[in-house]
Subunit: 117 residues, 2 copies
Amino acid sequence: MVTKRGVCPIEDYGYEAIEKVIDMIAGKWKLRILYLLTKYECLRYGELKKHVPGITHKMLSMQLKELEKDKLLVRKEYPQVPPKVEYSLTVKGWGLVPLYEQLGIWVMENREEFMGL
Amino acid sequence: MVTKRGVCPIEDYGYEAIEKVIDMIAGKWKLRILYLLTKYECLRYGELKKHVPGITHKMLSMQLKELEKDKLLVRKEYPQVPPKVEYSLTVKGWGLVPLYEQLGIWVMENREEFMGL
DNA sequence: CAGTATCCCAATAGATACTG
DNA sequence: CAGTATCTATTGGGATACTG
């Protein structure tokens, strides 16, 4: 039953663009990584691993590489031994915050669905 | 380089809730299906299949079942031969429109990234 | 410390055939 | 028309070992 109308802008940008955005932010790990970086602003590889319980070495490595490729975060390597690498968000990455906020709003609107988790 | 601050609400709802939302809307097909229903409001199974080029019978069937289970759309079956089934969005499904709008805004903010598609 | 490489198993999705 | 069942090819992700 349709009870509410709305304007959906997907067509203006094409499916491919939207799907690419979904790919960038979807997934169990990317969301967590991006969120941690909005919170702590700058984290080392090992710190990220500690803060994302359950993620494997391989997955963290792959996800970070993808996020870097998508220009959502930057990787800063310090040329020293032992190596030190820091990750932080780009402006583009920070731009996702309103999207996450909207996500939160929708969760609140349907909170009874999510209480049982 | 961090140049912009923002407040990220993920922690207020817990990762699980947000991940469940992502699961609900992510994926190559769900977004298309939901979008078509915001546009046409009510579509039969075969009409959906026509409007989502490339989707297989099996996938459309599975995705619709999941979307129905997540209460994003409703399935209305007419008891006749040959069978007729119509799909339309629920209020909860329509509630996703602002989320898609925010997605579109972010695409526009980074449009140079998405032009080459 | 911060990765990469390899192997292997489980889950996913496509094609096809069948049904009320 | 609108599905379900089955079989199979491909992929994704975990565990482990190795490297600068």
